[in-house]
């Protein structure tokens, strides 16, 4: 299903799934950036916002955005509690009308400007999945000190050794999927939380789906400092261990 054509005649529709929790400040700007990128590249799109009952009024600002951009572009599917990322995607997939799905963080670490590159790569090679990576030439990070970089590379190395994932950035979660591919993979996933994103991409490769990579620049924590605790590292190692034995 590859519509490789000149810009301006892409006939596909791209659904961006945005799980939100307390993103009242970021969400409007993100949607503004998304709308700009899609409009400038004449791409049909929608954003599915899954808000987990944020106490800061995220849903209210989402409704304002809906009035501004239209209900066909901003789809609101809120939930009544903080139910987690994995179930947010599953929930959103019930309402996706695009033949492609984009998942990304809502804190500007994943910039919409890369989406045309993702889309072009997908069309060029008829890929099932395109993932953004910080670890290949052309990619990078802003806002990380040396310690954080060492931990990040170490974690990725551990994942590479233990899982042979076939992608350079296992923990990255800025990805473009064919909708039916994502649905199929998610139906097989078993983990929750942090590891969920890793499991998706490892399973995808194991199931034989084609994955392409686009280098991205990742601006971590526009407001404030990036923190990574020992507890998260332990959880990560445990996640790798569990994944090793289930994929």
């Amino acid at each position: 299903m590859s519509d490789f054509s000149a810009p301006g005649s892409n006939l596909n529709k791209y659904s961006v799934i945005l799980p939100t929790y307390n993103e009242r400040r970021n969400l409007p700007v993100l949607v503004w950036l998304l709308e700009k990128v899609f409009r400038e590249n004449q791409i049909d799109w929608e954003a599915i916002i899954v808000d987990d009952a944020s106490p800061d009024g995220t849903l209210e600002v989402a409704k304002q955005l809906q009035r501004l951009y239209g209900e066909d572009k901003i789809v609101l599917k809120p939930r009544t509690g903080k139910l987690g990322l994995g179930t947010a995607y599953i929930h959103a997939l019930n309402f996706v009308t695009g033949n492609f799905v984009i998942i990304m963080d809502a804190d500007f670490s994943h910039h919409p400007k890369y989406l045309p590159k993702f889309i072009r790569m997908q069309q060029l090679y008829s890929l099932d999945i395109v993932t953004g990576t910080r670890y290949i030439p052309g990619g990078g990070v802003h806002g990380w000190d040396l310690k954080r970089k060492v931990i990040s590379r170490g974690a990725n190395l551990l994942a590479k050794i233990a899982l042979w994932p076939g992608v350079s950035d296992v923990t990255g979660s800025f990805r473009l999927y064919k909708t039916n591919v994502l649905r199929t993979i998610i139906s097989h996933t078993q983990s929750k939380g942090y590891v969920f994103q890793m499991e998706i991409i490892v399973r995808a490769k194991a199931m034989g789906y084609t994955v392409g990579e686009v280098p991205i620049n990742f601006v971590d924590r526009v407001y404030g400092e990036s923190k990574l605790g020992g507890d998260e590292i332990v959880q990560y190692a445990k996640g790798i261990w569990d994944l090793m034995r289930s994929v």
Binding site: V29, F108, G140, H142, G154, A162
Partner: protein
């Protein structure tokens, strides 16, 4: 077969092969004392080589980690632009 099972399989196959060579079930075209020395040193050599490879990957990875100062600055400008535009359209930012 899971990743874990595959790793175990490789490990046990390598160990079995090593054992076969060591106890003369499979011939190795080397003099006896050279052969035993080689086989005894091999596991340590592999372990240390693996450790060195890991350190190299880590070091090179950190050394060549891309920076994107410009993207950060561009992003701050875009956020401001977006907020200004959204305010005129009635979004509370």
């Amino acid at each position: 077969m899971t990743r874990f099972n595959r790793l175990l399989t490789y490990f046990f196959s390598a160990t079995a092969l090593w054992t076969l060579f060591y106890f003369d079930f499979l011939p190795l075209p080397l003099d006896d004392d050279v052969k035993y020395y080689f086989l005894q040193v091999l596991p340590f050599w592999l372990l240390i080589s693996f450790g060195c490879w890991c350190l190299w990957q880590l070091g090179m990875g950190v050394y060549s980690f891309g920076e994107c100062e410009q993207d950060y600055r561009d992003l701050l400008l875009e956020i401001k632009m977006a907020k200004d535009d959204l305010r005129t359209k009635g979004i509370s930012v």
